[in-house]
Symmetry: none
Subunit: 225 residues, 4 copies
């Protein structure tokens, strides 16, 4: 029932067999790594399964023993990222971060995710642009977004117990979408100053937006509806 569980099952459903031997695991990793690089460089449609197999240095037939088709590779990539992001999120929330003032919590969150995004350029493609091309990926993306948003919503509820769940989920969704697009926007530029500025604005924007909801001062809570 946990996210990890759900996604993991989704992940392995996309694969023909669960690689148990060391070599198989190594091969699957190589496939995913090379596929990510190629998707990033050439785009999904322009990336051939043969090219992936070639770069991963495995026979094409073997690739098809791990993945039933090309889309499954993209899905597996999406799941791998989802797991990593979930881990990142969990790590963040098991530290003292959740006990920081909102402003600091947001700064930390934005920076943490930014580092991850910056280190994984493929992520934006997989989670941002492959959606349309491969409906399967979209599904994984949406499922994952939802899971994260629910966890964020739970966190918001813990911050401000007066917040009702539906409201918290709405806010979580809006905040998640916003943070995601601004991360993307920041990463799209090579101008390091601009990048920092965008992140700074993102933090302000989130703070200004969330403060009225999360500040435990009921007098500031906006009326529902």
């Amino acid at each position: 029932m946990s996210l990890t569980h759900v996604l993991a099952s989704s992940f392995f459903k996309s694969m023909r067999k669960k690689p148990q031997q060391a070599r198989s695991q190594e091969r699957v990793k190589r496939i995913l790594d090379e596929a990510e690089r190629l998707f990033l460089e050439m785009g999904y449609e322009a990336t051939t399964t043969k090219a992936i197999a070639l770069k991963a240095e495995i026979p094409i037939g073997t690739l098809y023993q791990f993945f039933p088709n090309r889309a499954a590779i993209a899905v597996a990539l999406a799941v791998r990222y989802a797991e990593q992001l979930q881990q990142l999120f969990s790590d963040l929330h098991t530290t003292e971060a959740t006990r920081l003032p909102l402003k600091d919590y947001l700064n930390r969150t934005v920076d943490t995710f930014h580092e991850f995004y910056a280190a994984h350029p493929g992520l934006i493609i997989i989670f941002g642009q492959l959606r349309q091309t491969a409906p399967e990926i979209q599904k994984v993306n949406m499922e994952f977004d939802l899971q994260i948003e629910q966890q964020v919503a739970e966190f918001f509820c813990r911050c401000n117990p007066k917040l009702d769940v539906a409201q918290a989920e709405l806010i979580a969704k809006v905040a998640s979408d916003t943070i995601r697009v601004l991360q993307t926007s920041a990463l799209a530029t090579n101008d390091r100053t601009l990048r920092e500025q965008i992140l700074t604005e993102a933090k302000k924007l989130l703070f200004n937006y969330l403060q009225p909801y999360l500040c435990n001062d009921s007098s500031q809570l906006p009326p529902r509806g």
Copy 2:
């Protein structure tokens, strides 16, 4: 030098020849309309030029007289939307909207664009997901985004003359990215209530973010840098 001019030139550069006769114009329109529908339904890569020609009820050779290749059709679509959005934006700013209080201005802006987005579902694909697949489209998108952001920045500067241009452009970019993603998010759901809620949050978020910058009370202006 105007945006319309720039985009129009870009538009016609993407086409083999400028259709001047009534029938040609009609045909180009049909090509674009059908292409939009197909891109939306099947995705860009899965949409064949043959299918577009078939749906538009013109011979394939004729399609290629107007567009040198499939990507050019997508570019033309992007330009068409860019022009319409620019028009929408200009119309908004030549009304009294700009003299409204910030909150009302934002409400109006969000609603106006939302109506347009809702009426043109293809827009999100063209401006949101086709980027990677066809670099030409990305270019049109980015040019257009930049133009709009500059106009928004100019508007911000007029609202608050103390704002410096670079700052205004940054804020405009952040606000534009945010509004765009939330519009998309709103449209992604079929739940009309949720959709309204997302838009309401978008308005709040923008207001909370922009007010400190645009409220002409210098004491509230955040220090630069």
Copy 3:
């Protein structure tokens, strides 16, 4: 019955109408000139009628009023060359050249034709390589070659009245083929020294070959085969 007559009729048969007005003649010339350049640069198949019309600065429809199809342009080019070559040959034979010693006659002939070939690089394509692609051209080529060979044979018979006609025609054919290939070979190199050397060898070769036949000393005449 003259060559010029035969070829001229062939030439105009390849054209839809005999251009009588000055502008038409000018246009046909431009078509041929540009076609020649394009055939030379791109090859026959890669040269589109549209490209020819474009370069010649005439509408494509007008091109098709002068030539029924693309091959007709190539044929017309072949005929134009045939006429020029025939003229060259006639001019040579109406001078004192025919009264020179064989060696001098051959030197003059080789050089004269070489100058023409060098000045008309399209000739080799039209007469050498377009044959296969367009059977019509092959026909014009062969007709022309035959006419020239017959004139050469007549000349040989005049040189040595003891030569019978069939023999003379055979020799003329062999000599013509040889001279043609060596001209081509000479022109294929950019090394001016090598080019001169090839031509020098061509002259020797022809002299050594023809002398026994044409030297009016019956004792040297080879016995008929």
Copy 4:
């Protein structure tokens, strides 16, 4: 460094992969055989890859596994002929032919090659007319011609050690070009008598041309220059 080696490498470079299994070799052979027939019948440009695959009774995709494009088939054909001709030439020179008097050597050479040409009508197309259309073929042709000419030159030098290398190469080139065009000329006619006559003249022509150079009587050697 041997010709065979050079050409073989060129040959396999033109192919996607070296066929190793019996079936593959058989298939490549069928492709080449049918391509040759079609090139001969229809011309290179008019011969479609589909038609070749159809005649060879293999799927088009399989054809493209062996050859990256249509031109590569023509190149492979050229290389196949080059190898056969080289073999023919080598065989001739490892017999006693080289020890025969010049006249007999030439008779034998002309006849030997004529038999081969007559048995392989595609050769003339590939080596004579495809040049322009496909630059790759031209390259193979020229490389091959050069190799043969060098071998001929070496033979000439052995015949007459007083001949310098550059001179020998020039003569070899002239003789090769001449013999080739006369072979072609002979084959172009269906009149068997005329064909024989052309060949007879070719032999005379070559003998008369080469004798002064190769006859080991230095008094007859033409002065260089």
